[in-house]
Symmetry: C2
């Protein structure tokens, strides 16, 4: 791409470093900013820099937080003996949205993925193992995505925890609510039959 | 969406003001920046602010430029008597990429679109009309997109120019190179038959 202005070129190059944004999309976004008041670009730039510079992580669960302990970890009404292990803040938000979980979280910050160069040492795995070994936890729930990397990470943590006598569970895999059976993939459908649940559980609230 | 951090919330809100970027995409982009070195966010923010603050427009054609006259308008080897009227910088880049045009451009900055509140006075229409009336132009080529707004804008400029004795042309509409005839829409196919060209023109270079 040949640009008539170095300023545009630089902005497009920086913008297209973001995932899923190519040069054409970046140019569209940059031209959009040009048509808006100057303040909008200023606000965007300030918000990004402030976020990147001042971001804090909860000392207990490693979730993104504005204080030393996140709201969930600081909440005494939640069950601190049940820890749900997730990949990042988006998963915390998704589970919180369901309103079905009253325990606390542990944010790993990623999944073990040798292809992307992510090993166990780059993730927040040690702290959850220590938490378990200190005896303050009753149950661990694995809630990573159902991929090779997710399964590997689950298994690694499972091995690290060893035999501590706590409950280790994983979120249920099965047919999505509202899905047609005939379009489900066979692995999911197979699991949903093997791991069938008592019918009464589906309409009694826990 | 409930965020565990005001910093993230603010960054996501600003990011999702951009066209085609919703809250979920914005969150994905913001979390990506968090995983990258701090400098990357700094560079992005600086590039955007510099672009927005220091951007200049060519005094002649209104294209984005780093100097008072853009490279194309300053180039004496180009034919300044043929002016191609386009909507924005992306169209200039697209036509330049073809290598088929050696005239100069005139960037309107948009199309007349009452629905979006864009009238003729917000576009760079007067300057092109003046250019034509000053007698320095031999031919005007309309190269706006083939929509109701594009056609309206073409017609408005055509009326403004009046009878100046110059050539007023528009880029050819027809079947795209490589397209199957049976899938072409009927308006395009109809036009391509009405506006058929001598066969020799398609293999002789002009």
């Amino acid at each position: 791409m040949e640009f008539s202005s170095k300023l545009i070129e630089r902005a497009v190059n920086e913008m297209s470093q973001l995932p899923g944004i190519g040069k054409r999309t970046a140019l569209r976004l940059v031209l959009h900013l040009l048509k808006q008041p100057k303040e909008q670009t200023g606000f965007l730039a300030q918000a990004l820099v402030a976020m990147r510079e001042d971001i804090k992580y909860c000392a207990s669960c490693h979730n993104i937080s504005d204080s030393a302990l996140c709201e969930i970890c600081a909440n005494k009404n939640r069950n601190h003996q049940i820890v749900c292990i997730v990949e990042d803040i988006r998963d915390v938000m998704a589970i919180e949205n369901t309103g079905q979980f009253r325990g606390i979280y542990h944010v790993l910050g990623g999944k073990i993925s040798p292809i992307d160069g992510v090993g166990p040492s780059q993730l927040n795995i040690n702290t959850v193992v220590e938490k378990v070994k200190s005896g303050s936890v009753n149950e661990i729930i694995f809630a990573l995505s159902s991929t090779m990397e997710g399964d590997t990470t689950n298994f690694y943590i499972y091995k690290q925890i060893g035999d501590c006598g706590i409950i280790i569970s994983t979120i249920a895999r099965g047919i999505s609510v509202g899905d047609e059976l005939e379009y489900a993939d066979e692995v999911t459908l197979g699991r949903s039959i093997l791991q069938r649940v008592p019918f009464e559980k589906t309409f009694k609230n826990n």
